[in-house]
């Protein structure tokens, strides 16, 4: 089985901005290992000289005129769903210590 340890799971969790309790870490370590073990079989496939497919039917990028589009409701509407607002801004905890 693909070795993925507790330390690595903690590192990925930090990158993904997720936090887990000990029990969850244990479950995830096991489950991620078994999934990674399964996908290892991709190594059986010879892909030398094969281009990746990021998009299936890549057409040309459609361009448009760079015009200002009016949005109804403006800033007030844009901020409506924000958990915390100060004047015209989204408010977050202090970043600079």
């Amino acid at each position: 089985m693909k070795k993925i340890g507790r330390e690595e799971v903690l590192k990925i969790a930090k990158l993904a901005r997720l936090e887990f309790n000990d029990e969850e870490i244990e479950t995830f370590t096991y489950q991620l290992s078994s999934i990674l073990d399964y996908v290892e079989k991709l190594n059986e496939v010879d892909t030398s000289g094969v281009e990746p497919t990021f998009y299936t039917f890549a057409t040309e990028t459609p361009f448009r005129e760079d015009e200002e589009l009016k949005t109804e409701g403006g800033e007030k509407l844009a901020l409506r769903e924000a958990p915390s607002v100060h004047k015209k801004f989204f408010k977050v905890p202090k970043v600079i210590k």
């Binding site: 990925i12 901005r17 078994s34 079989k41 190594n43 496939v45 892909t47 299936t56 057409t59 202090k94």
Partner: protein, 492 residues
């Protein structure tokens, strides 16, 4: 049960246009049905009774002067479509109280066509799941057997259509999320070619795979709705500029002389006996309709699930980075910004979503990108080429929808990998970007629906629907929809 509930969408269209019934009357029948069966099915997260009432009244006025395909007809939307001023949860605690400021393109189009939107369907959280057990709002139950799953992630949509709560539902399909639940619930589920329908205003899961799908009780209804929702959208640069043909008017011509390919690998992937019987039955039906069954090969099929479970979580980990508690959705307060992100995400997401974010973050992280993500994208090319080669000899490819019929609630929740493997026949279609449709072929020994899948060449939904239509017609399966009106309450 009110007989009007059992009608198909195109039959309701006729009744409305002939003024034999009014839109508010139909809406009333649907709402009464919802009241009776929702405690058992849990197919809807939000019921939009008031909005639907206004839409039905408005539609009735318009019917006096003219018609349009969906005018006055009650439908539901998977809760992944953002709807202006209607709560849109995506099945997640993260968006439990999120009320979008705008309608997505598809929602605009069905409203323009006069649809009456009666609710937002339950779903696996962020469309991640094959059983609808991953919803923050509880599991959906299969109308054919309340102990069983309806499939997922558009399980609420499939259960709503099979449970006669509405005449059609829109879902999304990233790895089978429309076709598989359609198969489990005995309805028709169409996933068109990638880019056929705009994704603007649909909460993103895996952007190179996501596509809107349509769930109805017959093929013709699917064609009618595809005509309404397909087409280029300047707000989705991956939507296709290829013109939209009048699908519903192209169904009648037969499939005589068509070559239907059956990939040999489809029969070697642990199919249940009754699913295999379904394939045999489908072959007979197609031959009767004048088509010829041809063996084809998709040699890279065994790698499809691996490819999918690298690419989809990778794209998801990136797409779901936006849920940070800053601009909308849940925020868990903290005096520290990073801690606020982490607590918000830890409490806002359920286990399957976290699992996929972790998997995707790992696959994209420094040192692993080439080994996992890039490798998967290359094997994806080979899967796509397999289809291209097969389509050199055949018009349509057929196969199972999933290896089994609907499984029991709780049966696969402890083993994520087993759950993932239930999508083996639908995943390759998304990886190659092709169109696919699931149509009922019969029932298994437990009385559960068995579906059959057809797959088309890129943007040939006209051929796909025509094949499915003639299959359905020749098969002439009589479906007695579950009444669900007995007094026994749901088990859990």
């Amino acid at each position: 049960m009110n007989e009007v509930l059992k009608k198909n969408l195109h039959e309701i269209r006729e009744l409305l246009d002939k003024k034999e019934i009014s839109s508010p009357e139909i809406l009333q029948a649907c709402l009464e049905r919802i009241e009776k069966v929702e405690p058992k099915l849990n197919a809807l997260i939000t019921i939009t009774e008031d909005i639907a009432g206004a839409q039905a009244n408005e539609a009735q006025k318009k019917i006096e002067k003219g018609t349009s395909p969906l005018l006055g007809i009650p439908i539901t939307l998977k809760d992944i479509f953002v709807t202006k001023d209607i709560r849109t949860t995506c099945g997640s605690r993260m968006l439990e109280n999120y009320i979008p400021q705008y309608d997505g393109t598809v929602v605009e189009k069905v409203i323009m066509s006069g649809a009456v939107i009666i609710g937002k369907n339950n779903m696996d959280e962020f469309a991640m799941g094959s059983s609808n057990e991953n919803s923050y709002f509880g599991p959906v139950r299969n109308p054919w057997d309340l102990e069983r799953v309806p499939g997922g992630s558009s399980g609420g949509s499939a259960a709503s259509v099979a449970g006669l709560e509405c005449y059609a539902s829109l879902g999304t399909d990233t790895g089978g999320s429309v076709r598989q639940p359609a198969g489990f619930c005995g309805v028709v589920g169409l996933k068109p070619t990638y880019g056929r329908i705009s994704r603007y205003g649909i909460i993103a899961f895996a952007s190179s795979l996501d596509q809107v799908g349509i769930l109805t009780r017959c093929v013709k209804d699917c064609a009618i709705i595809l005509e309404v929702v397909a087409g280029y959208d300047p707000r989705d640069s991956t939507s296709s500029p290829i013109p939209v043909p009048p699908y519903s008017k192209l169904l009648d011509e037969g499939i005589k002389g068509w070559k239907i390919g059956l990939p040999v690998e489809f029969l070697s992937e642990g199919l249940e006996e009754d699913v295999l019987k379904g394939i045999e039955r489908a072959k007979e039906v197609l031959k009767e309709a004048g088509a010829e069954i041809v063996d084809v090969s998709l040699p890279h099929l065994p790698y499809a699930v691996s490819v999918y479970y690298i690419i989809a979580p990778s794209e998801a980990s990136s797409n779901l980075a936006r849920y940070d508690g800053v601009r909308y959705g849940l925020r868990v307060n903290s005096s520290d910004l990073i801690e606020m992100y982490m607590k918000t995400r830890a409490q806002g997401f359920g286990p399957e979503v976290k699992r996929r974010i972790m998997l995707g973050t790992y696959a994209l992280s420094a040192g692993y990108y080439d080994a996992y993500y890039l490798k998967a994208q290359k094997v994806r090319t080979l899967i796509k080429k397999d289809f291209e080669k097969a389509f050199e000899k055949v018009d349509i490819i057929m196969g199972p929808v999933s290896p089994t019929t609907a499984f029991k609630i709780g049966e696969k929740t402890s083993d994520p990998l087993q759950m993932y493997l239930s999508d083996i026949f639908t995943i390759p279609v998304n990886l190659a970007g092709l169109g696919g449709i699931s149509v009922p072929v019969g029932f298994d020994r437990k009385g559960l629906p068995v579906g059959i899948q057809f797959i088309c060449k890129p943007y040939r939904e006209d051929e796909l629907l025509r094949c499915a239509y003639h299959f359905e017609k020749t098969n002439a399966l009589k479906i007695e929809w579950p009444s669900l009106e007995d007094a026994s309450p749901s088990q859990k």
